[in-house]
């Protein structure tokens, strides 16, 4: 499909159309306390598309912080289980950041290998992700180092790039194409070839800006990690880490969860799954009280290993999109890009940027 453009005015109409048709529309919105969140909107004017990175990523729209898995009712010995629905109403995310969109696609792999998580994919299928290319945020961005970029289309169904008076739009997936076809009236063909050039220039600028922050050789990183479990680096890596898990909660790719039962009275209750994180001490505690991951250094090592060694080994992708949220959120000043830089130096992986994956 050929690239399209859409104006701000058409976007307003577009959102109104979607909402009227019963589609849930989510976009970055500036909250009362000044921060930006992905939130439901009813009018495009509520959205803050070009604002800073939202506080949390998109993952919560597919793996909510808490969700019921089923509820039960207990009789005398017998139990009745009431399932939850695994089909979801149509949903459009408008103005997703490429790092957030990419993360969702990366997570499709773990959510779908062997056992298919219906709750995740139910929401995935109901959702169309319209991303907007990112100009780069600050010194903690390192999407380019993870093999993605501020203009990466991974995980997006449609990608918009800001241009004068609106956006340059490309359909990435068949779903995206169908979406454009369905709403064809809102999109225009690219009339001026300069628009394409401007869009590409915007992206190139963003890429080089982010690339200044960090460059990595992912394969070298991965191979170093694979053989450096006992490296002395880990012994003091996380002294300043509180094990609070703020990083995991803002991370677009951290997906660990807990399953808990919540009784509601004598007979009834709900089993839920809740976000969890390997950064807390109790995450790995066995019923016997034995905790195989003994201290915070080991827990932080697990986080790095899982993202840059274990997940790529298993699924061929690093479990990180370089959004930098963890570094920004950390109350103790832990800084993943800095850690990666250190490892890269150790691994000889700090060479010129490679087109990984």
């Amino acid at each position: 499909m050929r690239a399209k453009t859409i104006t701000e005015e058409e976007l307003c109409t577009f959102v109104a159309d979607l909402v009227a048709a019963g589609t849930r529309v989510t976009a970055p919105v500036r909250a009362a306390e000044g921060k930006v969140d992905y939130r439901a909107i009813t009018r495009f004017e509520e959205a803050a598309i070009g604002a800073e990175l939202p506080r949390r990523s998109l993952k919560e729209f597919f793996l909510p912080p808490t969700e019921p898995l089923f509820s039960w009712r207990q009789g005398k010995g017998d139990v009745t289980v009431k399932p939850v629905s695994v089909s979801f109403p149509p949903h459009v995310v408008l103005g997703a950041r490429p790092c957030d969109a990419a993360a969702v696609e990366i997570l499709d792999r773990v959510m779908g290998w062997d056992y298919r998580d219906e709750l995740w994919f139910g929401r995935r299928e109901a959702t169309t992700i319209v991303s907007v290319a990112c100009p780069g945020i600050d010194g903690s961005c390192f999407c380019t180092a993870t093999g993605r970029g501020p203009d990466s289309t991974r995980g997006s169904d449609l990608m918009m790039t800001p241009v004068d008076g609106g956006y340059f739009v490309e359909a990435v997936t068949p779903k995206g194409e169908a979406f454009v076809r369905t709403h064809a009236a809102r999109f225009a063909d690219v009339a001026d070839p300069g628009t394409t050039v401007a869009a590409e220039a915007f992206r190139a600028r963003a890429r080089s800006r982010v690339a200044e922050n960090l460059t990595l050789s992912l394969p070298a990183l991965r191979s170093w990690l694979g053989s450096s479990f006992d490296h002395e680096l880990w012994r003091t890596i996380a002294l300043r880490c509180h094990g609070c898990g703020a990083c995991a909660s803002v991370c677009p790719t951290c997906h660990c969860f807990d399953i808990v039962d919540e009784p509601d009275g004598v007979r009834a209750g709900t089993r839920r799954r809740n976000w969890d994180t390997c950064q807390t001490a109790r995450f790995t505690v066995h019923a016997s009280g034995h905790n195989p991951r003994t201290d915070q250094n080991a827990r932080f090592r697990q986080r790095v290993m899982h993202k840059f060694s274990i997940y790529p080994d298993r699924f061929g992708e690093v479990l990180c999109t370089g959004c930098g949220r963890c570094a920004r959120a950390c109350p103790g000043g832990m800084d993943l890009p800095e850690v990666l830089k250190t490892i890269a130096a150790l691994a000889g992986a700090d060479g010129p940027r490679e087109a990984a994956v």
Partner: protein, 673 residues
């Protein structure tokens, strides 16, 4: 799943009239985990209890809920029934559907719904109950009595006569306490020493009593049945084993003008002395501060300056090198009988108290306190029983007695009544008139409190037969006018100011606890009130116990007491202890708190809130013996089961057995059926 039996009692018509007991049983029967639910006319009757026992056996019940009256009424009954059927008694609980339901509601539907709810809570609780075993603590059948006044003597003798070994610790060189200083006692005017001295000797000679005079309690460890008490025996510089009490040393002593404590500074003693002739033990002690030998030593004089007593002692009992010694005794119970002290009329006052500048702060020599008057009136006193005033030794013809000096005077820091002053002032006026027939006693009083057997008659006698003049009112000022003391007051009955000329003034000063009592209380983990008197465990029901199990009270350490009250308390405490000692083991309800050492972080909030000092600190070490942390532990012998520690524990790492978090959570969760 649990197999709970629910037994709904009609209590005749008492419950059945307003609660549909059959429906309660039916509804409860539908709950998960309820294996058996019936209603019956009288659950507490023999056939009712038989139903429970039968169901326990036949239905293999894992818990029993009796929905009936208040657990205060029949919990013991039903737990006993369960116990006899082989079910741990603590797996049985009651739901109160009578006092809390049928008796207070008329609407049958509402009352029945409520009864179902109440029983459901308890069913859910009982699902979480675990078998508990009665706690058994071995008891050391020895008692420690602290204080050798009349209360301590009485307690020691009662205990010893009851077969218990007793250690009696007295901080002064002799037992006897304040009672030994008194001349006569109210309301019978019998001679104090005549009744006390034989008791003192009895203590000395009793095979079950180990008397440790001139000693103090240094440390107290352990708990009821198992206290370890470290006692400091102060150096007497006289070898008690060799001394035969002949008195030669005192005759030889060159320091003869030390004010006598026993005579309340109205008489003199030597530096080596026994406080009074009937002292028990009759072994002298050297007062280091006034002894010429020790003074010289302190100044660095190399050659012995004195040593007269040593020379005089034919037994070689004088030992200037003696030092304080410590012994540790194991006891099962402790009686505190530390008595009282008098509010000082001087300028130096403890914190919170203000002395009486308006009475001259003790600068007028003929203004004395009640105990000093006792010494003047005593045949064994410094004046051999003659009433002579201290300043010039003349016989006072006009004595003014002031009641409530300190007492009942919040402005001076003491709001309580000292209880005994009304009586002893009346006694003093009588003793005075009996000795000085033309003397006039005038008493300033607020009101007369004479509520004991023969007390009011006694006061009346003082007024009517012995001519004491009672003026209701307070004295605002006293000052010297030549040899006379002007006592300026206000007669509140006549509404007139009065000024009375006196030759001597006796102040009935307030009864205060002994100094140092707070420290002793802390050693015992016992609490004390704002004035420093020991707190009883319950003002009505446990008046001679403290909140520390195994520590008992006798006499004026708890509040101002007269002799009969003190003796009664002492006997009561002894009876309590003999009861405790009557069994080899102490049995306690197992509803005590338990700390999970793995989860305790050692913040010790529990220690701060525990009213009983039941929390101790223990070290947790790893396999290699390295200290991991220090955590709290509950001494089940001391814990009374209030559970304040658990509510205070931030992480809920201490659980009160019988009221665990799981049990209470389950009850609350059961708000939703």
């Amino acid at each position: 799943m649990a197999r709970i039996g629910v037994f709904v009692c009609h209590c005749g018509e008492n419950i059945g009239r307003t609660v549909d007991c059959a429906r309660v049983a039916e509804e409860l029967g539908k709950l998960p985990g309820v294996a058996h639910a019936i209603d019956y006319k009288y659950m507490c009757s023999d056939p009712g209890q038989a139903l429970i026992k039968q169901a326990i056996a036949e239905k293999k019940l894992t818990g029993v809920v009796v929905a009936a009256c208040s657990p205060h009424m029949h919990e013991k009954t039903f737990r006993r029934a369960c116990g006899s059927a082989g079910l741990n008694p603590f797996l049985c609980e009651m739901a109160n559907v009578r006092e809390h339901c049928s008796w207070i509601h008329e609407d049958r539907d509402a009352a029945t719904d409520k009864a179902v709810d109440l029983a459901r809570f308890i069913v859910e609780k009982v699902k979480r109950n675990v078998p508990l075993e009665t706690i058994r603590i071995p008891v050391t059948k020895r008692a420690l009595v602290i204080g050798g006044g009349i209360a301590g003597i009485q307690a020691a003798l009662d205990l010893a006569d009851g077969g218990a070994e007793v250690i009696l610790v007295e901080k002064e060189p002799s037992i006897g306490g304040h009672m030994s200083q008194l001349s006569e006692t109210f309301p019978t005017l019998d001679c104090s020493q005549c009744i006390l001295t034989p008791r003192m000797v009895e203590v000395y000679q009793h095979p079950n009593i180990k008397l440790m005079a001139y000693s103090e309690v240094a440390e107290v460890g352990g708990y009821i049945g198992n206290f370890d008490v470290k006692i400091r025996q102060k150096a007497r510089y006289v070898d008690a084993a060799n001394c035969n009490g002949c008195g030669a040393c005192q005759k030889a002593c060159i320091v003869r003008k030390v004010p006598s404590e026993f005579d309340e500074k109205l008489g003199k003693r030597t530096a080596i002395y026994v406080p009074f002739p009937q002292a028990v033990p009759n072994i002298p002690v050297i007062d280091r501060a006034s002894c010429a030998y020790f003074k010289a030593k302190a100044k660095g004089v190399k050659k012995d300056a004195c040593g007269k007593c040593k020379e005089a002692c034919s037994k070689g009992a004088i030992d200037y090198e003696q030092a304080d010694t410590f012994v540790t005794e194991k006891v099962g119970a402790i009686v505190v009988a530390t008595g009282y002290t008098l509010y000082s009329i001087g300028k130096d006052q403890p914190e919170g108290l203000r002395g009486y500048g308006e009475y001259g702060y003790g600068t007028i020599p003929d203004v004395i306190d009640g105990l000093q008057f006792e010494r003047l009136a005593s045949a064994s006193g410094p004046t051999a029983g003659k009433i002579l005033r201290p300043s010039d030794g003349k016989e006072p013809k006009r004595i003014v007695f002031l009641q409530c000096v300190g007492s009942r005077d919040p402005a001076k820091g003491i709001e309580y009544c000292s209880k005994i002053c009304c009586m002893y002032v009346a006694k003093h006026t009588m003793l005075y008139r009996h000795k000085v027939h033309d003397g006039q006693a005038t008493v300033f009083y607020m009101d007369i409190r004479a509520n004991g057997k023969g007390y009011d008659e006694f006061v009346r006698r003082a007024i009517e037969e012995d001519g004491a003049r009672y003026v209701r009112g307070r004295v605002s000022r006293m000052y010297r006018d030549g040899e006379t003391i002007k006592v300026q007051g206000f007669d509140t009955l006549s509404g007139e100011p009065v000024v009375i000329d006196a030759d001597m003034v006796v102040l009935a000063t307030a009864i205060r606890p002994q100094p140092g009592i707070e420290q002793l209380a802390q050693k015992l983990s016992a609490s004390y009130d704002a004035h420093g008197f020991f707190n009883e465990a319950h003002p009505k029901l446990r008046p001679v116990e403290t909140n520390t199990a195994g520590v008992y009270l006798a006499g004026a350490c708890q509040a101002p007491r007269d002799i009969p009250d003190s003796v009664a308390m002492a006997s009561a405490a002894a009876a309590k202890i003999l009861g405790l000692f009557s069994k080899a083991e102490l049995e306690r309800e197992p509803t005590v708190a338990k700390v999970d050492a793995a989860l305790c972080a050692g913040c010790f909030h529990c220690e701060r809130v525990c009213p009983y000092g039941a929390i101790t600190r223990i070290e947790v070490r790893d396999r290699k013996g390295n200290l991991v942390k220090i955590v709290a532990e509950v001494n089940p012998g001391v814990c009374q089961g209030c559970g304040t520690c658990q509510a205070t524990c931030p992480s809920k790492s201490v659980e009160l057995q019988g009221f665990t978090d799981e049990q209470i959570w389950s009850e609350i969760n059961a708000l939703l059926a």
